[in-house]
């Protein structure tokens, strides 16, 4: 394979940037949450490609993939809790837009 580590890292960086855009530019909490997931995935991709390109036959480099495994597990738990919080907020405030969630301001 002639695709190098730099190509994977570039894809990962661009994906992270798109996620940042989503978090900063959107007001819908659900879309912000999806962008957060994209950023997590970008980091996962970077970790896996680092461990792949640094692996040698006598040193297997399993730490990266195992770390990604843990990240995926934590992300699943985080999505469940976060969406439950969004549902609770929607019940209380009747909206999911972040610019209308200013109850602490008054």
């Amino acid at each position: 394979m002639t695709v190098g580590l730099n190509a994977f890292l570039t894809v990962s960086g661009l994906l992270f940037a798109i996620g940042v855009f989503g978090v900063l530019l959107r007001r819908n909490t659900l879309v912000i949450y999806m962008s957060l997931e994209l950023m997590l995935n970008a980091v996962n991709l970077a970790l896996v490609s680092f461990s792949r390109y640094n692996a040698t036959p006598d040193h297997a480099m399993m730490d990266g993939p195992v770390f990604v495994f843990f990240i995926i597990t934590v992300a699943a738990a985080e999505v469940a809790v976060g969406l439950a919080i969004i549902v609770a907020l929607f019940r209380k405030r009747g909206t999911v837009l972040v610019n209308e969630m200013n109850v602490l301001k008054n």
Partner: protein, 175 residues
């Protein structure tokens, strides 16, 4: 061949991620999210992490997106109109992108990004057996903690999404 596949999957991931961010209807965004997650799973396959690719497809493209769709349809959020972000957000996003682009360009310019293609034929990460071995030896404590975290998350979700008592029956204690 693999190069073409890499560019194909990368383009699919980046394009669908872009559409996740810009789509006005969150349901369309969630659909594009599936494409992005499956594309990342394909990139994991290209990196020979087959077990992670399966997990990615099952957990992200399966469970997480289903949760998102379920909540979107439960809340019945109407699609937003034109996306009009604040000027300060645009400035912040542009700044973040500039920094990241600087990092990527610096990475290419430095030439110290890491070893280039000379890869061993098969790495340990390509075998799920090694995952099990690592998880139950070196990473035993994090593995147990993750299990506990999942339990805590489950209890928390049940508590948060419980129907709260109506204000008339609830009398706040004054003392």
């Amino acid at each position: 061949m693999e190069d073409i596949l890499f560019y194909l999957f990368s383009a699919a991931v980046l394009l669908s991620a872009f559409f996740v961010v810009v789509s006005r209807n969150p349901v369309n965004g969630a659909m594009f999210l599936i494409v992005a997650f499956v594309g990342i799973a394909a990139l994991f396959v290209m990196l020979e992490s087959y077990f992670l690719a399966v997990i990615q497809t099952l957990v992200y493209a399966g469970a997480v997106v289903v949760l998102f769709l379920f909540i979107i349809m439960l809340l019945d959020v109407e699609g937003s109109g034109k996306i009009r972000p604040k000027a300060i957000s645009v400035v912040a996003a542009g700044l973040a992108f500039a920094l990241l682009a600087l990092g990527v360009v610096g990475l290419f310019a430095s030439g110290r990004a890491g070893p280039e293609p000379e890869l061993p034929l098969q790495t340990a990460a390509s075998l799920s057996r090694h995952f099990g071995y690592e998880l139950f030896t070196k990473y035993m404590l994090p593995f147990q903690l993750i299990g506990f975290l999942l339990l805590a998350a489950m209890v928390g979700v049940i508590y948060i999404s419980k129907k709260e008592p109506s204000p008339t029956t609830e009398t706040p204690s004054q003392d």
